[in-house]
Amino acid sequence: MKLEWTEPDQQFLSELRAFLDEHTPVEAANGFDFQGEANGDAIIAPWLQAWQAKLFDNGWMIPGFPPELGGRNCTPSQTMIYLEELSRRRVPRATHFPGYAIVGPSLLEYGNDDQKTLVSAAIRGDTIWCIGMSEPDAGSDLAGLTTRADLDGDTFIVNGQKVWTSYAMVASKCFCYVRTDQQAPKHKGISLLIIDMDSPGIEVRPLTHINGQAEFAEVFFTDVHVPVCNLVGELNGGWAITQGSLAHERAGLWVDGVARLEQTVTSLVELAKANGCHDDVGVRRKIAAMHELASSLRSLGYKGFASYAQGSSAPEHSYMKLASSEAGKAAFELGMEILGPYGAVTDALRGAENGRWVNSFYISFANTIAGGSSEIQRNIIAQRVLGLPRN
């Protein structure tokens, strides 16, 4: 155990800092507090897309990857240093995570040589991807999905519906899980297809988020033709990839979750001061308890990272997902409590910072639902980490 970073790690950090000092877009400075939601109307802000490309071109998009994939072959601990520095500065890599966080890594692992050529554009953000997993009747129970793909010669004919599909209205490709065997047990009849979003038969109906923005959609498939070469991995082997792609997402997520929580705690302190309740013991203790939570989660994340870097599976990631998403909600709630009668006010005249506490509170609901709800995380911890029987 040791606290300091090694010489090469420090060198890595100073290179990163120099790059960020020089190139961080001005827009990043105010648009990304709390929930990391971009201000403005565009689903994917143009400046952010340019920023993602610049990170890629300079080897700072996924630093653990080789240069041709937007990285610089850095070590796992350097990856953590990188994620921490970005979070600390509240600088996003991109808002549309599917391409670089899920599609890229999954194609590298499961894709064939042709499909691997799609990876660099996914990570650079040149291709916008969406992920078609959830359906009206298959949310937590993802394996219950019924969107079907029937093979006809060298073409799959896809019929069905996806829902909550983030970025579907701007995406050019969908990483879509479909049922290819109606008879097999539910986990064994799922395949993964790459579907072009401009294929005839696809209809996208945007759904408005709880915060008023339309960032996800319903996607309907009616006799959509997909060439068989767009099958990723084995036919009926899709389930293994779902497990993999979620793991990619979770591995780096904790740094961000914890960093946001820490920033929220700092903002709570400022809010309490601004509202004259900084001497209130009750308020102080609640904020201190939030600090304790954020701080101990950071340590837990480091610990999980240590075992992950040594190649063992790290249960810490389920813990981190569960704890940081729940804590986020509680922290925003505390902000509203401090605001008292003005807790729910959102206007510019009287609402504290345009209602950002209550807005963040609402947006934070997504974190305990999407990507495996808190209940599902607890099931995973109980059954896979603690070895309790399935129910």
């Binding site: 155990m1 040791k2 606290l3 300091e4 970073w5 601990s77 953590m80 705690v265 700092t266 302190v269 309490a272 001061k273 900084h278 013991v281 102080r284 203790r285 904020i287 201190a288 308890a289 600090h291 304790e292 939570l293 701080s295 101990s296 989660l297 950071r298 340590s299 837990l300 480091y302 610990k303 990272f305 240590a306 075992s307 870097a309 040594q310 810490e316 813990y319 569960l322 704890a323 209940e375 995380q377 607890r378 099931n379 911890i381 109980a382 059954q383 980490v385 603690l386 070895g387 309790l388 029987p389 399935r390 129910n391």
Partner: protein
């Protein structure tokens, strides 16, 4: 930054675990409630590890976690974590430090006044002196007009110590009216005080995390064995989710203890804050482990026949020792509101 244990540390943890499983079974903790002498043979085994008091805090905490896991009675915590810690930060008389590190003498510290908080005060009555009845040295920490001073006295057992009973018998506490015994020969600088108290906070946190982990392990085991409605209670989701939450709070407390002990060894600027966080996190873990632990055990957990209460008692007392959780939260808020 590297949170993985070295192979020596892994070995230390395993050695401690095996040694304590053998030397400190629940039966010993139980008989210690009425027979104080049973701690002596245990200390005879543990004194070989007294040198941990002057070495890495990370190693000390690894060991203390295992002591908390078995709710070990005896002077290890008082002497190796507290007394040695104080001597080392004061750079005190080397013969005394050597003898303590060799486990040849047993010491304890008198810090808290009657108000119970571990903050140097001019209160002549000192309280919560840990295991003073079995110590042969006592370091008295006293606040004077010219700063904090420490007096090391011998044979506290011969003095008029009044027991302070808590729910827990694995550690004993005493109150002592020091009268005119305060000689104050060793000055204790603010830096030395803070080095000592920070280390003590993470030390008790490590012990407490061990006890919380024990409560959790016993409860998990019980949930797998106990059947109702024809299946293990651990297959019910309400129980699974409680266990998932318990394990989370215990694991994050463990990690925060590990981090805090690393800041102590590194002399990091983050040390004081990290040690308060560790104690508060461990306090929450202990509380949650005992509440849910009892609940999941049902009626059997409510009896003294079952061993669970031994650990529940230790956890409760640890939660209040060296500053209750709320006091540590107040120190954290002092820091973040500064």
């Amino acid at each position: 930054m590297d949170f993985s244990l070295t192979s020596e540390q892994d070995l230390l943890a395993t050695t401690a675990r095996n040694l304590l499983a053998k030397q400190c079974p629940p039966a010993l903790v139980r008989s210690h409630v009425t027979d104080r002498s049973v701690q002596a043979p245990l200390w005879a085994c543990l004194r070989d590890y007294a040198e941990l008091g002057r070495n890495n805090c990370t190693d000390l905490c690894i060991f203390l976690e295992e002591l908390g896991y078995v709710a070990a009675p005896g002077p290890f915590f008082a002497s190796v974590a507290l007394f040695a810690g104080l001597l080392e930060s004061l750079d005190a008389d080397s013969a005394l430090r050597d003898a303590t590190a060799a486990g040849e003498i047993v010491g304890t510290v008198a810090v808290a006044g009657l108000n119970g908080f571990w903050v140097p005060s001019d209160d002549l009555v000192k309280s919560f002196i840990v295991d003073a009845d079995i110590a042969d040295h006592i370091a008295l920490v006293h606040a004077t007009d010219s700063g904090v001073v420490v007096t090391v006295l011998t044979n506290p057992g011969e003095r008029a110590l009044t027991p302070v009973s808590t729910v827990d018998q694995s550690r004993r506490f005493f109150e002592w009216d020091t009268g005119d015994e305060i000689g104050g020969i060793i000055p204790c600088s603010p830096e030395a005080w803070s080095a000592f108290i920070d280390r003590s906070h993470v030390a008790i946190a490590a012990d407490m995390v061990g006890t919380a982990r024990r409560l959790f392990d016993m409860t998990l085991h019980y949930a797998k064995e106990r059947e109702q409605f024809g299946k293990p209670i651990g297959s019910f989701q309400a129980i699974q989710h409680k266990l998932a939450d318990m394990s989370l709070v215990v694991e994050r407390a463990r990690a925060s203890v590990q981090y805090a002990s690393m800041t102590v060894d590194a002399g990091s600027a983050d040390r004081t804050r990290a040690c308060h966080v560790a104690k508060a996190a461990a306090g929450r873990a202990a509380r949650s482990a005992l509440l849910e632990g009892i609940q999941i055990h049902g009626g059997i957990g409510y009896t003294e026949e079952h061993d669970l209460h031994l650990f529940m008692r230790r956890a409760t007392a640890s939660e209040y020792l060296l500053g209750p959780t709320s006091w540590h939260l107040d120190r954290i808020s002092d820091e973040i509101f500064a």
